[in-house]
């Protein structure tokens, strides 16, 4: 079939106003349903005519999914809250600035105006082989084109691969892991709560998805516990251009200190694996230190242990090492 781009194929549009209705629609249409949040990822898929859902459920009209609320011991962010709202929210800026910072690093102002936190963490990978509609593993085929010896894989993963070598593109994902956020996923069976780092899954677990969410699921809220409020944060995203571009590698870190000593740390890196990687070993390493140069260097080296670059992405190994170093150094 000849390839046509930039024409959205027809679908049914549902615009529920409650979560319950949305869930029912998803239940009804199962694999044929598509959840539309901000839509920036969705429209790309539609316009490429690679994904052709028959029923699109637009969450834009569900008020209960929007907004940032103070809840007991933390903040709750509705999954449909725009990235701009997060970027500008005073509570987030003061206590969880890393989340605002990460949101601010997303694409462009217009995309942040429209894009949502839920959409940002749920978006699909940007592997260009996969996005071109090639029949790769992730698309149900029998090969990974990006890992072929001659393939163009500058933006692909250096760890966590399992047949597929794509990376998670989300800017906010590592920040949410750093603040130990919880993702509340609902379906008709009720809500489930996932730690942010468990929300994202690799191809070993399911090669066709980036998160735990299955077709009937909806990410409704993101809860940020107060445990990491006002910690020392570090966020950095390396990209080719100052706007639009997805990360090559990004790092998000939270440190809780007593005096000069790091009591506890949470560090996550994105752009290096099919899922944002939480660096548990590095966190243990830096605990009890002051984030001095030697620790930072050791942390960097530890972070890249086991990295297996592809032909064109070996640079990500030192880049990841250096970003982890910088994150740790930022404390000192």
């Amino acid at each position: 079939m000849a390839k046509i781009r930039d024409m959205i194929p027809a679908f049914e549009l549902f615009q529920p106003t409650t979560v319950a209705d949305a869930l029912e629609m998803l239940d009804e249409h199962r694999e044929q349903a598509w959840v539309l949040a901000g839509g920036l990822d969705s429209f790309d898929w539609f316009k490429d005519r690679v994904k052709r859902p028959s029923a699109v459920v637009d969450l834009g009209g569900i008020e209960e999914l929007t907004g940032i609320r103070d809840v007991e011991n933390g903040l709750e962010i509705g999954s449909m809250t725009s990235l701009t709202a997060i970027e500008r929210d005073e509570r987030i800026r003061s206590a969880y600035s890393i989340v605002a910072d990460a949101a601010q690093h997303v694409a462009t102002p217009q995309i942040r105006n429209q894009g949502t936190l839920g959409g940002n963490v749920s978006q699909d990978t940007r592997c260009w082989y996969y996005r071109s509609g090639w029949p790769c593993y992730r698309a149900g085929g029998n090969t990974c084109y990006a890992a072929a010896p001659q393939a163009m894989n500058r933006e692909h993963c250096i760890m966590g691969r399992s047949r597929c070598v794509a990376v998670n593109p989300s800017d906010t994902a590592p920040a949410l892991i750093a603040v130990d956020a919880k993702m509340i996923v609902e379906n008709n069976g009720g809500p489930s709560v996932y730690d942010a780092e468990d929300f994202f899954i690799g191809p070993a677990i399911d090669i066709t998805r980036m998160t735990v969410m299955e077709p009937r699921d909806l990410l409704t809220r993101i809860y940020i516990p107060a445990t990491w409020a006002n910690a020392d944060f570090y966020y950095e995203k390396i990209r080719d251009r100052g706007s639009w571009d997805f990360q090559l590698v990004s790092v998000a870190a939270a440190f809780r200190r007593s005096g000069d000593t790091i009591e506890e740390a949470r560090i996550a890196v994105n752009g290096v694996a099919p899922f944002p990687v939480r660096l548990d070993a590095v966190e243990r390493l830096v605990q009890g230190t002051t984030g001095d140069e030697a620790t930072a260097n050791a942390a960097g080296e530890l972070a890249i242990q086991g990295a297996r670059p592809l032909r064109h992405n070996e640079y990500k190994v030192p880049l990841m090492r250096n970003l982890v170093r910088r994150a740790v150094r930022s404390v000192a």
Binding site: L13, S54, T108, P109, Q110, I111, S243
Partner: protein, 210 residues
Amino acid sequence: MDQAESSTVLEQKYSRRTFIKGVIATGATASSAGYLFRGSPLLGAATYQTATERLITLNVNGQERRVDVLPHETLAMTLRYKLGLTGTKLGCDRAECGACTVLIDGVSQYGCSMLTHQVRGRAVTTIEGLEDADTGELSIVQQAVMEEGGFQCAFCAPGFIMAMTEMIEVNPNPTREEARIALSGNLCRCADYDKILTCAMRAAELARSV
């Protein structure tokens, strides 16, 4: 199942839900201004009835416009091909250039990357809506651009001007750096960025003096 029947079933099925109810188009009649889209029977195998009504009212540039909109139609297409508002440009149709930037309730968004049905009940402002409808007086941003001789090929201009319009509302006293960030969702291939920035700063200045 013929279409009329299926739509009835759909209506019944979802009637208890809080839909915005209305006429569900059942025929193949294309919109009279439907340059781009037509009725569903032509769309190959996927001939769905939509749960959203097709004939909707949009608030565009302060006017209520009645328009027949398919479920999968983007706002930029509706504006350009159904409402004749060709000032909103399609540079990439992929949220990658900003030429289609419009204001939705005063917030800048890419018209190419939202469904028209998503802006029902919200105020859409396009480049055509910036001038005073009665006097033809240019908006502050437009005046600033005139003064500074902004833009080269200007295909990006409508988008930039919409982004500037939002900027002077949100941050009437921007630094050049802040203005740069505010406008970073718009691409200019002539790379007339310096002059555009000067226009934006001038616009903010004019806005402050009003």
